[in-house]
């Protein structure tokens, strides 16, 4: 489980998160939504410990985790932009992450699934954006972590891979994991999300299921619901 207590984060003068608290007790898919610059990525990075809040506490499995590092074993992270050291090959990168994590992994299966086989010995610097995103996905899903944090996982993916990704997420969800996801693809949210966390002006403007959102806004589809949240 993940718990955020009174998190405040400012970048200079700009308050991105203003005293935010929420808890995720059970497994499921949680979509973090909000307009650009509303702090979606910041929240994810705070959970990962990459961004440090001015105030507040983060708990993972009931432990305070700010400024600690070992809890990241429990988390797999898919960063927003797939950037890797240019000089490494795909294979080396995968081996390196395995070496650093030192956990059982299932990369072959994923490589097969996403059709990355022929790129294994290519340098990451020479890969296209979409292929790099696939590598990103392999790295994220190859470990069996109880928490998955996916920041715009669909960026640059072709439709086939998008379907594969959905399947992957579904499977993880079925395994009872906590999946935090930000995305602009609302269809993905509609088909995957158990709950929506909507950020606006540094606060959680709405939290609840898709049905609750529809109820609250009185709109039929997600697109319009969100638009009305922003009004």
């Amino acid at each position: 489980m993940i718990q955020l207590e009174n998190i405040t984060k400012r970048f200079g003068q700009l308050t991105v998160l203003d005293d935010i608290s929420f808890a995720i007790e059970n497994g499921g898919t949680f979509a973090v939504l909000g307009p650009n610059g509303s702090g979606k990525t910041t929240i994810l990075k705070i959970i990962l410990g990459m961004v440090l809040p001015q105030k507040g506490e983060v708990m993972v499995h009931d432990n305070r985790v700010l400024k600690t590092w070992n809890y990241r074993k429990e988390i797999s992270y898919l960063p927003q932009i797939a950037r890797f050291p240019d000089n490494l090959t795909v294979n080396e990168l995968i081996r390196m992450i395995k070496d650093l994590r030192n956990m059982p992994s299932r990369e072959e299966e994923l490589i097969e699934l996403l059709g990355l086989g022929k790129f294994l010995d290519k340098k990451l610097g020479n890969l296209s954006g979409g292929t790099r995103q696939k590598v990103n996905i392999v790295l994220t899903f190859m470990f069996d972590s109880p928490i998955l944090i996916l920041d715009e996982p669909t960026a640059g993916l072709d439709p086939v891979s998008l379907i594969r990704l959905k399947d992957l997420i579904e499977k993880e969800k079925a395994a009872g994991k906590i999946i935090l996801i930000t995305t602009h693809i609302l269809s993905l949210v509609e088909s995957l999300a158990d709950e929506i966390i909507f950020l606006l002006e540094g606060n959680i403007h709405f939290r609840g299921s898709l049905e609750e959102l529809a109820e609250k806004t009185g709109e039929k589809d997600l697109e319009h619901s969100i638009a009305s949240l922003l009004e």
């Binding site: 990075k45 961004v51 590092w69 990241r72 992270y77 960063p79 950037r83 050291p85």
Partner: protein, 261 residues
């Protein structure tokens, strides 16, 4: 874990073209110097002038470049169960070691082939390599620290170059001018003290103690005599350089633990 991080940034670096350019530069420099100068001691002196200025510069540029270019790698690592300190120290050591290796191999090979090991210059040469390695570590650390302070690449790069320029030229300029201006006061304490605060001066002095001891002993002050005439000078310079290595490392760890990525 730090060794793993070190291993990966090191292997990343020794794969990059620039490490080879750097290594090749020193190899060429070494061979050319030995070819042009028929005697070793002259080559060592010329080399000293180059090493004392160049290693800090290369350390600075590589440090800051590596820091900005390996952001992806850093972010990747930050999401892994690794301590921040480990990540940055590992990368810092990776850069410093690969640069030092280029220096030591690049100069070592030509001079060993030339027979430095059988020559009386071996200690001068060793001091040179040790100083160069110190300077590489110090300036790599300082420039990575500057990188941590500045998210803006252009700014960071500018500050790093300015930092190098400051230690390489400006500091000595101010130092020299103040010595000349305050000529009427006893200056030996100030002189020694002021040179401790510039690692380039410290390594230069370490080499002077080998190459120019004859001139250094010409100075009348008792403090200088003690500093240069006994082993004390070398020990103090060495200790100060170690502190200079530790300082940026400490700052680096401190700053990295507070930074957002």
């Amino acid at each position: 874990m730090i060794l793993k991080v070190l291993k990966y940034s090191f292997s990343d670096l020794i794969r990059s073209r620039w490490s080879y350019v750097y290594l090749a530069f020193y190899l060429v420099l070494g061979f050319v110097l030995l070819f042009l100068n028929d005697n070793l001691s002259k080559a060592v002196i010329t080399l000293m002038n180059i090493v004392v200025v160049l290693t800090p510069m290369i350390g600075t540029i590589f440090g800051i470049m590596y820091f900005y270019n390996s952001r992806e790698f850093t972010e990747l690592l930050l999401a892994q169960p690794i301590r921040r300190r480990t990540i940055f120290l590992g990368q810092y050591l990776g850069v410093s070691l690969s640069l030092s290796l280029s220096l030591v191999l690049g100069l070592g090979i030509p001079f060993i082939l030339y027979g430095i090991t059988q020559s009386s210059q071996i200690w001068d040469f060793a001091t040179l390599l040790i100083s160069g390695t110190f300077l590489t570590f110090i300036f790599t650390g300082l420039s990575i620290f500057i990188g941590l302070l500045n998210s803006n690449k252009i700014k960071g790069f500018g500050y790093a170059i300015l930092m190098w320029l400051f230690f390489a030229v400006i500091y000595d300029g101010i130092f020299l001018i103040s010595l000349v201006v305050f000529d009427d006061y006893p200056l030996d304490k100030f002189t020694l003290f002021a040179s401790f605060f510039n690692p380039i001066d410290l390594s230069r002095i370490m080499i002077l103690l080998k190459l120019d001891i004859s001139a250094l002993l010409g100075y009348t002050g008792a403090l200088f005599q003690k500093f240069f005439g006994t082993g004390q000078g070398l020990i103090v310079a060495f200790t100060m350089l170690l502190l200079w290595v530790a300082g940026p490392m400490f700052l680096l760890v401190k700053k990295s633990s507070k930074k957002d990525f």
